[in-house]
């Protein structure tokens, strides 16, 4: 009891908790769930954008996209490493993903249908992710906070790149390109603002997470911040956000926006989005197909070690 109180006091004082520190089992479990879910999102998130690597419209855009998807894999690496400090191995986490026990961000269950989707994912999806993630740079668990600092830096870069690629198309592109951008915005807008999760009134886990310094700002607050920022960016870009109810509310000092289709949200979270089964099947196949490679690498290492032992003897 007093250990818990001391732990909470450290958090309240703004201290970082480190791997060797004592922590409540539930804190540990919550963090493993959250960090691994975040890591899985990075890995699964490589797929929708990866879908356009072979078809990027210029070599420069291809290089930018390759580097971006690579960065996402890198984020996965840092995050798995951060989660591993909590005593769960990457293989265990992957197993949870592959068997459907662990989740990943539901946004990646939507398909990328045009090249503009790549830019819009950078702008809106990475933008929403950053809103969610910046507060985590001050998360109470040290390794996670430090991983997030690095992740956020790179994500901001990606967001700017995505936005810039849309700007080029909207400002210098053909009518067909502009229509492609608007179509992508139409498809990604609502899923993007769903990324902040259910309304605060319907959000599980949130209160405890706030107390533990794992979550710092509420879903609705973050969503509003994102909407406010994005409306301005959309104006600069010259695209319309597909929400007829969107308008400035002088009294609130914020943009009002329309009703989110939570049925769709829960349907996709529950497994019935357009790509849920395919995304998971793709990850599982990559893992299964790679088994012989991982086994061979292990066998080779053993052989090398035996050789060294022999030579030493």
């Amino acid at each position: 009891q007093s250990r818990e109180a001391a732990f909470q006091a450290r958090i309240d004082a703004g201290d970082y908790i480190e791997p060797k520190d004592w922590m409540p089992a539930h804190y540990r479990k919550t963090l493993v769930r959250q960090i691994s879910q975040h890591a899985h999102s990075e890995i699964v998130g490589m797929l929708p954008e990866g879908n356009w690597i072979t078809r990027a419209p210029s070599l420069k855009r291809k290089a930018i996209l390759l580097a971006k998807v690579q960065d996402e894999g890198g984020h996965g690496l840092y995050l798995y490493a951060a989660a591993e400090t909590l005593g769960t191995s990457r293989d265990q986490m992957l197993d949870a993903l592959h068997t459907g026990k662990a989740k990943y961000s539901s946004i990646f269950n939507y398909p990328t249908l045009t090249w503009a989707d790549v830019g819009v994912i950078g702008w809106l999806v990475d933008g929403a992710a950053i809103m969610n993630q910046v507060p985590l740079c001050r998360c109470s668990y040290g390794p996670y906070a430090r991983a997030m600092i690095r992740v956020c830096r790179e994500e901001s870069f990606h967001q700017r790149q995505g936005y810039e690629s849309l700007l080029v198309m909207m400002q210098s592109g053909t009518e067909a390109q502009k229509a492609m951008v608007q179509d992508a915005v139409n498809r990604w807008w609502w899923p993007s603002i769903m990324m902040f999760g259910p309304h605060d009134s319907d959000s599980l886990h949130s209160e405890q997470s706030m107390r533990w310094g794992i979550k710092r700002i509420s879903n609705d607050e973050l969503r509003q911040k994102f909407v406010d920022a994005t409306v301005e960016q959309a104006n600069v870009l010259g695209v319309t956000l597909p929400d007829p109810d969107m308008k400035w509310n002088e009294a609130r000092g914020h943009y009002d926006f329309g009703r989110i289709d939570w049925d769709e949200f829960w349907r996709v979270v529950g497994g019935d989005g357009p790509c849920n089964r395919e995304r998971l099947a793709t990850r599982v196949k990559a893992w299964d197909d790679g088994e012989w490679v991982r086994e061979a690498a292990l066998a080779h290492t053993h052989k090398q070690q035996q050789q060294q032992t022999k030579e030493a003897a």
Partner: protein
Amino acid sequence: MKLSNTPAQRYVLRIADAALILSQRNAEWCGHGPILEEDLALTNLALDHLGQARALLTLAGKLDGLDEDQLAMLRLEHQFLNPVLFELPHGAHGERDFAFTVLRNLAASVWFGLLWQRLLHSSDAELAAIAEKSAKECRYHLQHATDWTLRLGDGTEVSKAKMQAALERLWPYVGELFEADAIDAEAQASGLGPSWDSLQADWRAQMESVLTAATLQIPKDRPNAHRGRHGQHSEHLGHLLSELQYLQRAYPGGTW
């Protein structure tokens, strides 16, 4: 698209296209690697080759006022001059065969390594500069491919069998990397770069050393039947280009 097709331009395009097409192939692993670290490594390799291709295409296009994208996205298939080896799918039937990927990258990095070394002394200063940067990148590629060849060749029975099968599939295509023709002769004479046949002995020695250490059997050499360097490809390149070029062709006149 009209190209001058001078021997020097074709010489550079052969190398540019080798890097471009191999990059496109290796990029297919992105998101599908056997372990996350390999996903990143193969993407890195694809990025390096893409960078090399961009520099070389820019160089090759100068003569006709064409930029890297016009060359990559608007040439027709017979205008691509890469050896066929680089355009083959990873697996014999469209699947991703990591064994083949590793062995092709080994063959490619030994070959590129020798080529960049020689191109350091190119009479074309720009080509020499590209070679200098590329040679550095190539050292890492070679190390990486060598490590994996050793691991998988001398790993499990299964991995050894997969590597040997992949090697048998790959071998009939390596001959094209060492063909010599008038274009090579002119490049050699002008000091632009080596005739490719002059790379063969060193390539062979380096490959033998790695493959033998990996306990793999070097297949019997086959007469070369491939003419990608002359613009006659396998049936695979057309499919690859239909993806590579689709967007530029479907949205003509776009700014990206």
